[in-house]
Amino acid sequence: MNDLYLIWKNLFRKPLRTVLLIVSIFIAFLIFGLLVGVNVALNRATETGSASNRMVVANKINFTEPLPIAYLNRVSAIPGVIGTTHQSWFGAFFRDPAQSRFVGFAVEPETYTAIFADQIKLGPGEREAFIRERTGVIVGRSLANQYGWQVGQTLPISSDIYFRPDGSRSWDMKVVGIFDGAKPTDPTNALYFNYEYLNETRPFGRDTVGTIAVLTASPDINDRVAKAIDATFANSPFETSTVDEKTFSRAFLKQAGDLNFIITMVVAAAFAAILMIVGTTLVSAVRERTKEIGVMKTLGFPGHRVLRMVLGESLLLSGLGGLLGLGVAAVALNGLSRSPIGETFGALSMTVPVAAAGMGLALLLGLVTGLAPALSALRMNIIDALGRR
């Protein structure tokens, strides 16, 4: 027998109470692990592949509003711009819109694969085939793996935005290439097809694009170029808003709300509740043991050792709950990263900094919740504890 054994026995003297406490801590850390894990992945996704000299020109009202394709030439003529391309959201799905939605853009093959060459790594001859084939489509590796698509296969890709003159929503596209990202962890859950194929077969929105991607000569001139682009289209029916790629990605995520703020609030609320529950339970648990603590002190256990044991209980409690919560969150994130949800964010995982922050939080929770009962045990007078007056 040693102090750790005593801590363990004291902690589990009322197993149901302890298990319920561990479960409540577990839930708090599960929420923490999942939300922070997803947030980290989202932030990483906005950073991935963002080139510092690449900017996005979108409609000033909202990026979901279109821009005339004629803008491309005018943007290209602005000093400092060395390349332009465009992309249009297709609202793609495969057979079942409820089950198989994915990222799909109509693009100009030659310029798009050139400007985004760092994100779209194609095999030999595949880029040329994409440029050549009007109905060609290039598919990201993870998306191709998910559906088992192969090069040469013709796929009926549907849109929840556009329809064809005959009323059908499906476009037959031939897979001409399967691309990888710059890194194995980069998301490759998208497909790109020829804009002309969409443009000539859609009954509305012709000759408009979603956003324009601009490559500048240097990141140092980004601000100047952005201002020049926006000034060019000021007071027109399609005013523009030009920002660098990272800013655009962050703004895109903010459409769903300030995720950092929401996550912080949810995690804080969960921890505040746990702090109250665990804190008050530990205080009453130690109060129940007043006599036993008095006996231990009578036998010669110094106050600091009793304090250490009570703190040890709260630390062990938080540690177990935290470890379980973070562990299950890690497994869940790993599982999610293999699902279609995870494909959206790239590699979802419990990173070392998140796990370390979680365990640090568990330690802090243990210290804070255990401090009051531990100090009460430290200060406990033997005579009062044993009622010997």
Partner: protein, 227 residues
């Protein structure tokens, strides 16, 4: 027998609200080594306070308390705690065993304060349990033992670290006559065979007969000694 415990002009009072209640006013007491003393007296006479002072769980306001030549009244909290662990074994009326631990683990508790190895602690625990004839109940939890058996475990816990002094506060107050006599016989054995100095507070004249002498305390002073 040589002087073992000596109280000289000990004063002790408690404050209750704004009122100060004097428990001892210049109390003197000498207990020789190897003595078995019963302390009797009405409620409020100061029996428990005396035991608290002797065991170093309370402090006197003035006077001297010496234990085997060692003055303890000026000790700090930490020094008193360490002194208690080395020299005093406590036996309480309601046993005060840890319900989460087995009999053997309860007995082992005071040994966690020593530097003995786990094996040595185990041997000492077994020896203590054998002395109180409970070696076969070592793995039982307190709730699985009778009142008398629990008190025996408490005695084993009190003697396992081989203290010189045993302080017993109504050790048979919660037991029937027959069981009480068994417990008292065990205490007598510890006194006679192992030379432990025992100070026992009791209300029970039958229990006091097992001691070598009885001190009668009333209003903070010893009024009578029965041998």
């Amino acid at each position: 027998m040589t002087d073992f415990i000596r109280l000289t002009d000990v004063c002790k009072s408690y404050t209750r609200g704004k009122e100060s209640i004097s428990i001892f006013d210049r109390l003197n007491l000498v207990i020789p080594k190897g003595d078995f003393v019963a302390i009797m007296g009405p409620s409020g006479s100061g029996k428990t306070t005396l035991l608290n002072l002797l065991g170093g769980t309370d402090r006197c306001d003035s006077g001297q308390i010496s234990f085997d030549g060692e003055r303890i009244e000026g000790y700090s909290e930490g020094q008193l705690t360490a002194w208690r662990a080395r020299n005093v074994g406590f036996i309480f009326q309601f046993y005060n065993l840890m319900p989460i631990l087995t009999a053997a683990q309860n007995v082992e508790l005071p040994l966690l304060l020593t530097s003995l190895s786990a094996q040595r602690r185990k041997e000492n625990v077994l020896t203590a349990l054998k002395i109180v004839e409970l070696a076969d109940r070592a793995r039982h939890k307190p709730k699985e033992l009778s009142g008398g058996q629990q008190q025996r475990v408490a005695i084993a816990r009190a003697i396992v670290s081989d203290p010189k002094l045993l302080l017993c506060d109504e050790p048979t107050g919660d037991l029937d006559r027959s069981t009480a006599n068994d417990i008292l016989s065990t205490l007598q054995l510890l006194n006679r065979e192992l030379g432990k100095t025992i100070i026992m507070v009791t209300h029970d004249p039958e229990a006091a007969r097992f001691a070598t002498r009885t001190l009668h305390l009333d209003k903070g002073q010893f009024v009578e000694v029965t041998t």
